[in-house]
Symmetry: C2
Subunit: 154 residues, 2 copies
DNA sequence: TTTTAAGTTCTATATTTGAAGAACCAAAAG
DNA sequence: CTTTTGGTTCTTCAAATATAGAACTTAAAA
């Protein structure tokens, strides 16, 4: 079903995803990305990843909530079959960029509280905040550029 | 020494920094960024943040290791005085981008293992990997653009 | 209407993480 | 030398997180 290499990749990708979700959820997501099989039932996920029912249930619902995965059903079959939903992945990057913007706002606030706005440190805060803002502004253009490139040579 | 607002900012910025370091280290870094005072001794940090010696020591060394902070000494004074080192902050963004690249490599590896590279999922993996790569390639240009803008109107 | 299947939720642990405080150490001061 | 200072390291301890497994729920099937 899963080759050794695929299992290893699930672990490696899982570790990346652990930044932001519990290990079990991270492995579930990685499984759905890496596997050849297009969809997995609750129990298949459970068995393959050797998780308890609760860890499986919680992980799946966490991922459904974030819309990282979705499920479909089959007529005359009560099970749900889960698949990765890759389509809103660009959103993921947007969220990352928004987070940078939020931090830049805190840096600005810190600058406003500085007695002396001309120290090296204060100027650096302003600079970093400006950079974060700039990145936030530039990002849509970069993604657009990528989309154009991609549309031209598919 | 620190206003209420500054203390609140240290907490808020600290929470951002917790992604990637332990809370105590995050607060130390936030303190060195937010405060007007340019440098702090070990015991000042300890007292202001109400940390134990071990938490202070570990946090400081963690931050020194990552070169997020540095210290200087004064003649006839054994203490070290710690300051934020903002200068390689652009590096911080580069690291973030490098991390994205590392993930794209794992996605590529996953794609290589796919039996059928023409499924929706496989094509999406390719697409995401390509986007991550593109971001990695574009970033230096974006930062350069920012530097030019900044040089022109300082 | 009883049983079964598919999952959820609850309770009990296990694991991980972070921090406290004491013991320790090395260099400088006395 | 011996004491003090400035910190580090070691040994708990506490809290947060994650998981297991059992008990429960709900809807469909028998």
């Amino acid at each position: 079903m899963l080759s050794q290499k695929q299992k290893e990749l699930i672990e490696k990708i899982g570790i990346y995803f652990e930044e932001g979700m519990q290990p079990a959820a991270a492995r579930i997501l990685a499984l759905l990305i890496v596997a050849d099989q297009v969809s997995f039932s609750f129990d298949e996920i459970r068995e393959i990843l050797k998780l308890s029912k609760s860890a499986t249930s919680n992980g799946i619902n966490f991922l459904l909530n974030l819309k990282k995965i979705e499920y479909h059903t089959k007529p005359g079959d009560r099970k749900r079959y889960f698949t990765w939903s890759p389509d809103n992945i660009i959103n993921h990057f947007r969220e990352g960029i928004d987070k940078i913007l939020a931090l830049s706002i805190l840096f600005d606030a810190s600058l406003q509280l500085k007695r002396d706005k001309n120290t090296h440190s204060a100027k650096k805060i302003a600079e970093i905040s400006d950079l974060m803002n700039f990145l936030h502004l530039e990002m849509p253009g970069v993604i657009e550029k990528w989309e154009r490139k991609r549309a031209s040579k598919p």
